[in-house]
């Protein structure tokens, strides 16, 4: 990388489909690897990625996803999602992409801050013990904007 004006990347992850979760993780990790600060704010369904009993079971969307190149009716058949997810995880493993739990550990160790959205935590009636140990805290969106109080900060919604 050459010089960049980006000093900090803030990601809001609102979805729990595997492709969206990995997009957020790879971009957040990629920032840290370049010496750029990064943080992720997990909200709505994005919270599944930091729930201990759900994060290992995230799936690829086979319905309503034209890039799957299969008819929507077919994508809705039982077992289709699981099959597509298995295939994708296999491909990711080949590229040495870590599974979700290990990726969260790497992000946390790399100094990427991980936040849960207060409103969504309340809406889904989650307790702190339901969430990963690496979590840095539960914030309101206002608190999260406070984290953007530096020059060269970008917020990305996924």
């Amino acid at each position: 990388m050459g010089k960049t004006k980006v000093k900090k990347m803030l990601f809001i992850l609102s979805k729990a489909t595997l492709e969206n979760v990995y997009a957020a993780f790879i971009m957040a990790n990629g920032a840290r690897m370049e010496g750029i600060d990064s943080e992720i704010f997990f909200t709505f369904f994005g919270l599944e990625a930091i729930q201990k009993n759900k994060l290992k079971d995230l799936r690829v969307a086979t319905v309503g996803n034209p890039a799957m190149h299969m008819p929507t009716m077919l994508g809705g058949l039982p077992g289709m999602e699981a099959f597509a997810t298995k295939m994708m995880k296999k491909e990711m493993e080949k590229l040495d992409m870590p599974p979700v739990d290990e990726f969260l550990e790497i992000l946390s160790d790399s100094g990427c801050k991980l936040w849960a959205c207060k409103l969504a935590v309340e809406m889904f009636k989650l307790k702190e013990k339901d969430l990963i140990d690496e979590l840095d805290g539960i914030l309101t969106i206002g608190d999260f904007y406070g984290q953007a109080d530096v020059d060269g900060c970008q917020i990305v919604y996924i």
């Binding site: 990790n29 840290r32 690897m33 040495d96 870590p98 100094g111």
Partner: protein, 97 residues
């Protein structure tokens, strides 16, 4: 250092020109500071991996048994893999992870 060929990003283009003195000069220039025993241990690990043409990644560092990720970031501030490979005299890793 004048006789050492580096690309526009600062990476050595010819590993045979690498010496411990060159490594220390790059570390000073990149504000990493004085290289400690732990730095050298990581540098040796990276060079060994490079010699065997094994791709470098942060996940690989985690599994290396040489250093954990937190220490790695602390030792090489400003992007650990890109900084450590520059000091080690090997190419910058091309991986996104």
């Amino acid at each position: 250092m004048e006789n050492v060929n580096r690309n526009e990003q600062g990476y050595l283009t010819d590993f045979s020109q690498w010496t411990k003195e060159v490594a220390q000069e790059i570390a000073t220039e990149q504000e990493i500071g004085e290289l400690t025993d732990k730095h050298w241990e990581v540098i040796e690990y990276l060079q060994e991996k490079n010699k065997n043409e094994e791709p470098l990644s942060i996940r690989g560092i985690k599994k290396s048994g040489v250093i954990n990720i937190k220490e790695f970031y602390a030792l090489f501030p400003g992007g650990p893999l890109k900084m450590s490979t520059m000091v080690a005299g090997i190419p910058k890793p091309k991986s996104c992870i």
